[in-house]
Each structure stands twice: as structure tokens, then as C-alpha cells.
């Protein structure tokens, strides 16, 4: 199991456009990725490729989230996703 934390950089938090961009990126990866707020139990983690899950997670700007994935390529996958979360996607 690989695990990475990331701080949400988008000013509006992880919804709307940023959530759409992130969910789409997760969907394109070969591994399944979960997302949870830092401190929440791993069992409560949600499917990171679901925009609806991301929206219900409601991660705000500056909050820390935990990404988890398993299997081949998990580390590289998480690394690329952390980069997305730590960019202000709303600024584009």
C-alpha cells in the first residue's frame, strides 16, 4: 500500500472544476486510488475517481488529504496526483 499526503491548493477547495480535473486524472490511471481527509480512518476513504465522492468529501483550500493506492505503478500514480492537488487548478 502506497500512501501520500497533499495540501489542497485550489482556492475554491476540491470541488467544481478542480474536482473534475482531478477525478478525470484518477480515472485515467491504471490503479485504484482512494482519498480521505487527514486523520480520518482509512476505512472511510472514498473512490478518488468519483467526482461525487470528491464533492461530498468537501476538502477546502489548505486542508490536507491522504491518497492511497496499491499495486504496480502506485507510487508514480500518487506522485502525479499530489502535483495536481498542490496546483491552484482554479487559477488556470
Amino acid at each position: 500500500m502506497s500512501e501520500r499526503t497533499a495540501t489542497i491548493a485550489s482556492r475554491v477547495g476540491l470541488h467544481a472544476r478542480p474536482a473534475a480535473i482531478f477525478a478525470e486524472a484518477v480515472g485515467a490511471l491504471p490503479v485504484e486510488v482512494t482519498i480521505a481527509l487527514e486523520g480520518d480512518p482509512a476505512d472511510d476513504a472514498m473512490d478518488a475517481s468519483s467526482i461525487l465522492s470528491l464533492m461530498s468529501l468537501g476538502a477546502a483550500n489548505g486542508q490536507v488529504v491522504v491518497l492511497r493506492a496499491e499495486g504496480d505503478g502506485a507510487d508514480e500514480a500518487l506522485e502525479s496526483l499530489v502535483k495536481i492537488l498542490e496546483t491552484d487548478l482554479d487559477a488556470e
Binding site: H15, A20, A23, E24, S56
Partner: protein, 562 residues
């Protein structure tokens, strides 16, 4: 040659081919199970395929869209095949043997509820989930997706009636005209058509049977729809195209032939509208519908949000009058934080100014925000309350305005009691503005949204004209020459606008699109002629006669195709 007669609500003559708006998707029956020939695995695959098809379709549409519409479509496309939504449905199929249609229906309902409970922005997205659901069910059933058909070739849209939400997806470059079997002159279809400048006929019974691709002729002034138009009608449509171009500009000076000034103002719903109205040379804003800034909101907008929304409108009209109407929630414009949805009779319920009885504080905070927004702008800010019924209410509202530092309070006259007691009401406030849509609905006891009552529901009704006359007389009797304006859809009808001026109305406020047509016609009559036409309309035995007799005296209407 087959033809249909309805009510013309937005002028224009046009020939084009028909596209019927698909019917709304009906709810699959509760407890609907998989057909015995279908396995759960097959149903799940079918559902995933349908979801993918809908997703692809929405994604393709997002490519052609711009701005806010684009990001909404992109997000909605992702929702269509969202794992949370689909897994929830597949679980119902596998565990309970629920049909794919019913499973996605229930899964989306619980997701929408979850979003709704999160409040704020999330709650607003719950309608997107329900939209996606309808599309997936339509795909599963093999029927066309709900909503306005996507098309690259222009067409005439035929529907039962349009909802406010349809405005967002209505592309006026593709939709040539609107024809509905339901709705009345004050329905949303009529309002949308006038705002977009599209010819429209409503309440045309039978048009839902016209097949897609049929060529029809629509006359939005006469209210007629003809299948397989003849050469004369094709020529009339071509002539209209030329007229429409010359009618496109208003010079910003509402005046009769003999120099009697009648400022022509615009009805706007926010800053975007206001900028367009200013570009169309509106002489001010006669009605800022503040609730339009906040429709589909679950919570009361903050002080700052309100200031931004109002300031945007004020800034578009420096040195000009802007009449702000306080929140008019209720009936056909419910706001969750103000409206009690369980009222048996919303049109006669707690709406408009009356919401201050049940939700005190909201109005006071809105007035404070209007006053703050007005500070430092060059607009001349007036404020009025909707749905005032008594002089006491008018007095209370004036006191609240004074407390907020707003010096020019007024009232909407849309309840007949206000027209009948205009003299005492105007003793308490500085001006009155006639909301003819509701005034007609209440005077005639005819619901604005009901097609079968369309004939009753027109401001040409002599009874409505009489109430307008009484309001003007009330102002005269009060003695301080307090202005009486009209801000209902009546002001956008060039013939009726002449009658209103003849009745003594001081200003006319309308959708910006109508300014040029109203201005052009007003320019051809003297005040004395307008007064004569008003007398004719008042004396007519019914609305149809009133309209016909006045129009017969205004040959300019036919010349301009209005």
C-alpha cells in the same frame, strides 16, 4: 393547409422546420424488477454502457460551449459515469433484482439528497445529478434525451412549455422561434422569448402533433402557426428579416410625436442584463428583479454577495434611475430559505413583501445591502416592495427604507386592492409601479401558468386597464404628482404601451429587446391620440376587441410587422 391558433407573445414572422422538445422522463415505477430474460450482469453492463453514452454526449457538447456553461457540462459529463452513482445502482440490480432504470433512479436520488444535505454549492449541484439521471433513463429506454434538442441546423422549437432552466441551453442562433401547446402570455416561454427576441406563439392547442422536420410558418404577432406555408407567407418572413434589422436600435429617447416624454426603462435580473440593457440605450432600470440573483440558492445571500450583485447593476447606469424590487419570492419563484412549499395556494400565499411576516430580518438585511451598494455609485436608486395590498404595509415598508437610509421608497401595484386604494398608498410612499402580470392574474382570478386560461390572462382585459386608470387617478388625487410606471410584460407590447401612455402612465419598463419596437411606435402617436386609444380600449366589451380596435387605429404596427 393546416393551421393552429394560439396567443402571439413575441412578434416576428419566420419559416423553419420543427423540432419537438422531448417529453420529461417519467419515473420508473417503484419496485420495478428486471425482466425475467435479463440477468443482473447483463443489466449492469447495459447501465454502464448507457452511462458512457450520456457521458460522451455531454462531453461533446462541452467542447462547443464556453464560460460557465462549459465547466458545468464538463462536471456533469463526469457525473454521468461516476463510480459512486453507478456502483450504487449496480448494487440494487445485483442484490434486489431491481430494473436498471429504477436502480439508477434511486441511486441518483440518494446521491442528490446527500449533496442537498451538504448545503451551499453542493446543494446546487444536486439538480445536475437529477438531470444526468433523466438522460441515462432516456438512453436506457431508447427515447430522446430530455431538454432542448442539440442541433447544428436552425429549427423552430415546439414544446408543451419551457421552464426557466431551459434558458441556459437555448441557443438563439439555432432556435428560430418558440411554439408551445401550453403556457399563457405570462408563462416562462413568453418571458424567455421576449428576452431573446424570438418570435413566439403560446397556447396553440394541437401543435404537439406536428412531426419533426415539418416546415411551418410562425407569426408571433398574430399568434398563428401554419403547416406548409404558401408563397405569401414565405415572402412575409423574408420581409420581417429586413424589418427586424431596422428595428434593432433604440435611440435612448422615449417620446411621443408631440414631444411628451415617456422614459423607456429596462427590466433586468442582474449585472449582465444591466450591461446589455445599457448597451440597448435603456433610459434606466424600471425593475431590478433581485430574486434572480439568488434563484436556486438554498441559503440567504450574504451582505457582501448582495452588495456585489446590486453594485454591478448600479454601475451600468451612472446618473440614471435604477428601481430595485426587494425579494419577490414565492409562487412561481420559490426560494428555499423563504418559501413554504406546502402552501395549498402559493399565488395567494406568503410571497413578495409578505415573506417579512414569516421570515422577518431578510428584508431588513436586503435593504441594508441595497443602501450599502448605492453608496458611492452615481445611479439614482429607488426601492420598491412587491405584493403590497394595503396602505399600512406601504407605510411599514417606507419606515424600513428610511431606517436603512434609502430615501425613495415605492410599491408595486399588482394586487387589485392596491390599485383601488392607490391614493392612500401613495400618501405613504413616493412612487408606484404596476406589475401587470400579477395584476392581471389577480384581477381575472386566472393562474398565469395555465394554457386553458390564456384568453383571460391578458393585460388587454378592460378590467385590468381600468385598474391601471384607477392607480393613475389615485396619484392625481394624492396631489404630489408621484410617478406611476408600468414594469410588467404589458409595457413590451407596442400597441398596449400606447394605451398605457394614454392612461397617464409616466414610464414604461420592459425587456431590453422590446425598447426599439415600443420606442418606434410611440414616436408615431401624439399624447392626445394615445388618450383616445386608451378610451377605446377601456370601452371595449372584451380583451380581444380592445386589442383589435386599438391595433386597427395603429397601421404602423402592420407596416413594421409588430
Amino acid at each position: 393547409m393546416q393551421s393552429f391558433t394560439g396567443v402571439g407573445v413575441s412578434p416576428g414572422r419566420i419559416v423553419g422546420s420543427v423540432r419537438q422538445m422531448p417529453k420529461a422522463v417519467s419515473e420508473p415505477p417503484a419496485g420495478e424488477k428486471l425482466a425475467s430474460s435479463t440477468t443482473a450482469e447483463d443489466a449492469a453492463v447495459t447501465l454502464r454502457t448507457a452511462a458512457k453514452v450520456v457521458q460522451t454526449e455531454l462531453k461533446e457538447r462541452s467542447v462547443g460551449a464556453t464560460g460557465a456553461g462549459k465547466s458545468v457540462l464538463e462536471a456533469t459529463a463526469l457525473m454521468a459515469a461516476d463510480p459512486m452513482l453507478i456502483k450504487g445502482a449496480v448494487k440494487l440490480i445485483t442484490n434486489n433484482g431491481t430494473s436498471a432504470e429504477r436502480a439508477i433512479w434511486e441511486s441518483a436520488a440518494s446521491v442528490a439528497e446527500m449533496l442537498h444535505n451538504l448545503g451551499g454549492y453542493m446543494a446546487e449541484r444536486s439538480t445536475d445529478v437529477l438531470d444526468v439521471r433523466s438522460r441515462i433513463v432516456a438512453e436506457l429506454r431508447g427515447v430522446p434525451a430530455p431538454g432542448i434538442p442539440a442541433s447544428d441546423t436552425p429549427f423552430i422549437l415546439v414544446a408543451d412549455d419551457l421552464a426557466p432552466a431551459d434558458t441556459a441551453t437555448l441557443n438563439p442562433a439555432i432556435v428560430l422561434a418558440l411554439v408551445t401547446s401550453g403556457g399563457g402570455p405570462q408563462s416562462h416561454t413568453a418571458i424567455i422569448a421576449r428576452a431573446l427576441g424570438l418570435p413566439a406563439v403560446v397556447a396553440a392547442v394541437g401543435v404537439d402533433a406536428i412531426t419533426d422536420g415539418t416546415e411551418i410558418y410562425v407569426d408571433g404577432a398574430a399568434g398563428s402557426v401554419t403547416v406548409d406555408p404558401d408563397a405569401d407567407q414565405v415572402a412575409a418572413a423574408a420581409a420581417w428579416a429586413t424589418t427586424a434589422a431596422t428595428l434593432a436600435v433604440f435611440d435612448g429617447n422615449g417620446v411621443t410625436a408631440d414631444g411628451h416624454l415617456v422614459p423607456l426603462l429596462a427590466n433586468v435580473g442582474g449585472a449582465k442584463d444591466a450591461v446589455k440593457a445599457a448597451a440597448a440605450n435603456a433610459q434606466g432600470v424600471g425593475l431590478l428583479r433581485t430574486e434572480f440573483c439568488f434563484l436556486e440558492r438554498d441559503t440567504e445571500p450574504s451582505h457582501e454577495e448582495q452588495i456585489t450583485a446590486y453594485r454591478g447593476v448600479f454601475d451600468a447606469f451612472p446618473g440614471k434611475k435604477v428601481v430595485v424590487r426587494t425579494l419577490d419570492a414565492g409562487a412561481d419563484k420559490p426560494l428555499p430559505f423563504l418559501t413554504d412549499a406546502s402552501e395549498p395556494n402559493p399565488a395567494l400565499g406568503v410571497r413578495g413583501y409578505r415573506t417579512d411576516f414569516t421570515s422577518p430580518g431578510v428584508l431588513k438585511r436586503q435593504l441594508a445591502a441595497i443602501a450599502a451598494a448605492a453608496e458611492g455609485t452615481e445611479a439614482d436608486v429607488w426601492v420598491m416592495a412587491p405584493m403590497i395590498s394595503t396602505a399600512d404595509e406601504a407605510g411599514d415598508f417606507a419606515a424600513m427604507c428610511a431606517e436603512a437610509g434609502l430615501t425613495n421608497p415605492g410599491v408595486m401595484v399588482e394586487v387589485p386592492s392596491a390599485a383601488l386604494t392607490a391614493e392612500t398608498i401613495l400618501g405613504k410612499v413616493n412612487f408606484a409601479s404596476l406589475g401587470t402580470n400579477d395584476l392581471t392574474q389577480y384581477a381575472m382570478a386566472a393562474d398565469r401558468q395555465l394554457g386553458p386560461l390564456a384568453a383571460l390572462n391578458t393585460p388587454w382585459q378592460p378590467a385590468v386597464l381600468r385598474l391601471i386608470q384607477l392607480t393613475v387617478a389615485g396619484s392625481l388625487a394624492e396631489g404630489n404628482q408621484k410617478p406611476v410606471g408600468v414594469c410588467g410584460e404589458a409595457a413590451a407590447d407596442p400597441a398596449l404601451a400606447v394605451v398605457l401612455v394614454g392612461l397617464g402612465v409616466n414610464t414604461l419598463s420592459m425587456t431590453a429587446r422590446a425598447l426599439s419596437a415600443v420606442g418606434a411606435v410611440l414616436n408615431t402617436v401624439t399624447l392626445a391620440e394615445a388618450q383616445r386609444l386608451a378610451t377605446i380600449a377601456l370601452a371595449a366589451p372584451n380583451a380581444l376587441e380592445a386589442r383589435a380596435q386599438v391595433r386597427a387605429e395603429l397601421p404602423v404596427l402592420d407596416e413594421l410587422g409588430l
